[in-house]
């Protein structure tokens, strides 16, 4: 296993589409923010302190319990090109902020890419676990186990009253950020999405773009996560989010049923046209690609488009992004060449899936 695999292969385990309700809830993620008692937070830590933190994390790799979750690979950010970092970000294995500001940064990745432990991001450690479908409870349990393993080796900054102490006051307490990535074209097409999103905000949850805070929602993909980390237990947070996600899934299914019953022909026409575009286009921009991929995914879910597994759609969503396209081409590409490559890649991948 070399770190090259994380970069060259698009497929991570969370993309297999096998999890519960994975047609609508694409993936579930749990992230725990942790800091080591003895060091200042990464914004103030000196280079040598950051090195010591990295070394402490590397040491934990020797732990037998962690090996049972693994195998893990340790990757320093300063050993990667900016393109390689971008690919890891596009695969959700590192955050946009670790990609942009990599001082002292590293990541510990499990081979199946279910675990990614970021080092020296905003906090010393960000233990992340990512699963296919709606499996927040399982993701929390897995992240919690890894957290316990780290806790055997390092003293976490913790306070009886405030809980886990984090660099940003928005993460203090449990340090947990749980999220579900959801594909909600039915709610968008029936104009119900804004109503639902504002309802979500009222129960202490927040909607972010696909790559977290500040990123845009594209291709009808929405990431719903908890906002509050202090005063609620991890279990309460997970249960709350799971229950809201289930309700949104129900609403989305109802919207899809409504569309099929009342607007079937125009819907079929739209989805099949999008399929036509993806299988024939010679140039395609990323916005159009996300939109059409969303349509085709909906077509697959509704049985209108057949013979394409969901995993291929998950894979394509990742592969059509700028970093991946360039990695795939083995060279830097300008925007025009990317649009051409993107169209070709989608055509080839869909063709291969049909055969």
């Amino acid at each position: 296993m070399s770190f090259q695999n994380f970069i060259t292969n698009a497929v991570s385990e969370w993309m297999n589409g096998n999890g519960e309700d994975a047609d609508i809830a694409i993936s579930s993620r749990v992230r725990l923010a942790r800091n080591i008692q003895e060091y200042p937070f990464p914004i103030l830590a000196t280079d040598s302190q950051l090195e010591q933190i990295t070394a402490a994390v590397r040491q934990v790799m020797e732990d037998e319990d962690l090996k049972r979750q693994g195998p893990f690979e340790f990757i320093r950010m300063d050993e990667l090109t900016s393109l390689q970092k971008r690919v890891l970000m596009e695969k959700h294995l590192i955050s946009p902020s670790l990609m942009a500001d990599s001082r002292g940064g590293a990541v510990l990745l499990s081979e199946n890419e279910a675990f990614s432990i970021m080092v020296n991001e905003e906090d010393h450690l960000r233990i992340q676990c990512l699963f296919s479908g709606l499996q927040l409870q399982k993701a929390w349990e897995a992240a919690n186990q890894v957290d316990d393993i780290f806790e055997k080796h390092v003293n976490f900054a913790f306070d009886e009253r405030r809980g886990y102490l984090t660099s940003c006051p928005t993460n203090v307490g449990t340090g947990i950020r749980a999220s579900v990535m959801m594909h909600l074209p039915g709610l968008v097409l029936t104009n119900q999405i804004n109503r639902i999103l504002s309802a979500i905000a009222q129960v202490g949850l927040v909607v972010r773009g696909v790559y977290g805070e500040g990123s845009e929602a594209s291709g009808n993909l929405f990431q719903i996560s908890n906002q509050i980390t202090l005063g609620q237990s991890e279990e309460e947070i997970i249960e709350n989010l799971t229950s809201v996600a289930r309700q949104i899934i129900e609403q989305e299914r109802a919207a899809r049923k409504h569309l099929m019953q009342n607007r079937r022909l125009p819907l079929e026409d739209r989805l099949c046209r999008s399929y036509g575009v993806l299988t024939n286009a010679r140039i395609i921009e990323s916005d159009e690609a996300s939109e059409k991929l969303s349509d085709v995914r909906l077509g697959i879910d509704l049985g209108i488009i057949r013979n394409i597994p969901l995993s291929v759609m998950n894979e394509l969503t990742i592969m059509v992004q700028p970093g991946f396209l360039q990695q795939y081409a083995g060279q830097q590409l300008d925007s025009d060449s990317r649009d051409e490559r993107r169209a070709r890649l989608i055509r080839e991948r869909l063709q291969a899936a049909m055969e």
């Binding site: 008692q37 060091y39 806790e151 900054a157 405030r162 102490l165 940003c168 006051p169 203090v172 307490g173």
Partner: protein, 174 residues
Amino acid sequence: MICQECHQRPATLHFTKIINGEKTQLHICEVCAQEKGHMFPGGMSDFSIHHLLSGLLNQSGSNTVSFQQADQEKPLRCDTCGMTYPQFSKSGRFGCSDCYEAFAERLDPLFRRVHGNTRHSGKVPERSGGTIKLKKEMDQLKYELRMCIEQEEFERAAQLRDRIRELEQQIAHL
């Protein structure tokens, strides 16, 4: 709905302006919004959670004003990392875990605004948690004990009582 400015892209931002009682509705796309300066000052692109926090921390109010005066004379400072309260309130980030102690007197209102709560009630680490975990377990056992007594399950209550005694001794020895 199509953007009123460029008539090309879909309108994703919807504004209602009321000037001198006259109401105007605006439906524009993000690109035009940025060009026309309809966005928040500074632009949405660099508007992050830390700006929001900083805004919350600097909100004017009777308390905050006196804090600001105090900060001008002798700002709160974290002795461990050197971060001052004004620096923290500007960046929205702590410098080290001791900042929580150093700025403690100012943090409750912030946490109440952000989380609606000021006290942690989740996971406790085994090691650095020290006696907290045992105390938590004891609270839970005491609660169960009360329940057992109410429901007259005395055999179970006796078991719980013994376990509570064990824990009390463990805590006393730590």
